[in-house]
């Protein structure tokens, strides 16, 4: 997939880094800005009615000074799976209309953290110093798409090397792209999970601007699965549009046509939820999107959610369909409470620890431990 990169901004202290040089060799942008030029252009972008529209065409190369390893920004009020984020950048060239990241960052431009050596050093030190019995599921796809910018960054190889052979960690790449070529060159598929965000075909087509089509994602999943990689699928957000049951059922069927149940490490489900401000931003950017005007009310964490009854009905429907193809496929819910787990999947998940154990179990078996 090719995304439009019109400008590259390079922070002064990132100019001489190897990843910067390699990105510049791979991309042809109309403008390359350095130093004070960046602040001036950033000021101009901020004044536009929709800064994100331009921001998604600007790639900023940053020597990141913060923590590369972070806990997933879950919520205390619901069960969270204890995922660790490996922070490779922020923002994304894909422009999903529902995307929560539209209100998450102050900065509309995409950032890639180009001090890869620092990232690998921090990761290695984290995984080495932690107690050997502890297990960590990492993911790079929380603040950005894991693979959308991979053709420029080339991070899959070095990151996979870092995880290869480790008994205490897996790394999940989560994407709406279909760029899986780097995985096909890896020698060891263990410790690596390639995951795809999924939705209903019709919904994805209109709402996931510049993402690979669902069919292309499924083809990509099939390719990596045939190389021995475990694949994951994430239905998040699930949106109960008119005909949702048929729409999502169709996608579930397509997943199991593309990939054997044995290759699927997990499928996660999460009904649309959002911070109140997101609706305002989306309405300003795209006009009123009907599904954001459904009966959302504030949940325990202040995010807007549909009623538990409706969420349960949705989860049950998808779980039933998934289990009809893969009775043993691990399904988990993202940010849901004990009662929702019980009533929709029939599982008693009382706390975060139980959920972590459930997912760690699946991941550990993939490391060969």
């Amino acid at each position: 997939m090719k995304f439009p990169v019109e400008q590259i901004w390079i922070e002064d202290d990132a100019v001489d880094l190897p990843v910067t040089r390699s990105i510049l060799a791979r991309v042809s942008a109309e403008k390359i800005l350095i130093g004070s030029e960046i602040a001036e252009e950033a000021g101009r972008i901020d004044l536009q009615p929709d800064p994100l529209h331009s921001g998604k065409r600007i790639l900023k190369l940053v020597r990141y000074r913060g923590a590369f390893v972070k806990p997933c920004p879950g919520t205390r009020e619901y069960n969270c799976c204890g995922l660790k984020i490996l922070n490779i950048g922020q923002g994304c060239p894909i422009d999903c209309r529902y995307c929560a990241l539209q209100v998450y960052f102050n900065n509309p431009v995409m950032e890639v953290y180009v001090n890869l050596d620092d990232m690998l050093r921090e990761l290695s030190s984290f995984l080495t110093r932690e107690a050997p019995e502890k297990f960590f599921r990492f993911c790079t796809g929380e603040f950005t798409d894991s693979l959308a910018l991979e053709p420029l960054t080339g991070y899959v190889g070095p990151l996979a090397d870092e995880f290869s052979g480790r008994a205490n960690a897996t790394l999940e790449f989560k994407t709406k792209s279909d760029y899986v070529e780097p995985f096909l060159e890896l020698k060891n598929p263990r410790n690596i999970i390639v995951s795809f965000s999924m939705n209903a075909f019709s919904f994805s087509k209109t709402e996931e601007i510049r993402a690979a089509s669902l069919q292309r994602r499924l083809n990509a999943a099939s390719r990596v699965a045939s190389q021995g990689f475990k694949v994951g699928f994430h239905f998040d957000p699930i949106v109960p549009f008119e005909g949702w049951e048929h729409g999502y059922g169709e996608t579930v069927d397509a997943i199991f046509s593309a990939v054997s149940p044995d290759s699927i490490i997990w499928i996660s489900l999460g009904v649309l939820r959002f911070v109140p401000k997101l609706k305002d931003v989306i309405t300003a950017r795209f006009g009123p999107l009907r599904y954001f005007f459904d009966s959302f009310s504030p949940g325990l964490d202040g995010k807007f959610r549909l009623s538990p009854q409706r969420r349960i009905a949705i989860y049950r429907s998808l779980a039933r369909r998934i289990r009809s193809h893969g009775p043993n496929t691990l399904i988990y819910l993202c940010m849901e409470s004990q009662g929702i787990w019980r009533d929709s999947l029939g599982l008693e998940i009382r706390n975060n620890q139980q959920l972590e154990e459930l997912l760690d179990g699946a991941a550990i078996s993939h490391t060969g431990r």
């Binding site: 004044l47 800064p51 305002d280 009623s307």
Partner: protein, 313 residues
Amino acid sequence: MLSHENIKIIKINPEQIDLNNRDFFIPSFESLAPMAVSIQNVGILNPPLVKQTLNGLLVPVLGRRRIESLRDLGGSYMIEVKVAPPSLSDDQAFLVAYWDNLDRIRKDSGVRAYVISRLLELFPVQTLVQSVFPALNTAPIGPSLERLKKIGGLEYHILKALSCGKINEKSAVILAEMQVNQREILFELISQLALNSNKAFELISQLFDLSVYWKESISDLLGRPEVRLLLDDTGIGLTEKAALVRDLVRRWKFPEISRDRKNFDEWVKDLNPPGNVSLRPSQSFEDDSVYVEIRVRSRAHVQELADVARRLE
């Protein structure tokens, strides 16, 4: 350039000034009465500034309220006005009005929205951010300016409601998203029910949500028989009527929560807890938990309650 040397002072009848012209208009939603009293007592001490248009009309730049007050007072007499030089361009004349009314623009959100909207029509945003907006302490970010621009385009009486706190800015944003006739109908309902700004926001946002989600216009929603029945009922007071309308709309917007609420209230009624106990469900009935608030006479009783609570943990 506006300086003392090139300003002409003339004597005219205030009726000669075209108050319908709004080229340099900065709204004011305050009553004119105190100013009229002052003018009656001491006259106009500081002559208004007017600008002559190409077709010879005199339009107010500064002092519109003084002229309006004077006209309200009636009578026929001449007043002194300053005439801006032809070299003062229209956009610069608006800036003169802006700087002169800065305090009011800063304090009043309705006025601020109107003025920002007007400034964005006259000047490039970059110029405004550098030399005009800093005085307003408005964050120079594109989307927030867009929002203010939309609000600034609302009808005068809605801006007035925003200015005097009858609706809040969030309500104004939603109203700005609607077609004119639809927002008029909704605004009229809010005014008719005399809702405060928070309750007005609740009703405006829920009805707008429903109209988008159900693909039904505001007028159709409010024309439904169950709404008409309530609004036309002369036997109930305004406060009760407002509560019933809000309750009905809430049931439309949140059918499951409304059902849960009803069941919960019935359960509490059957439980018949003592008067010092109040019960409430979890937020939006997200889980089965119930918050129990117990009022006790002294701290000594708290230990007993803590023991019970520990057993339930």
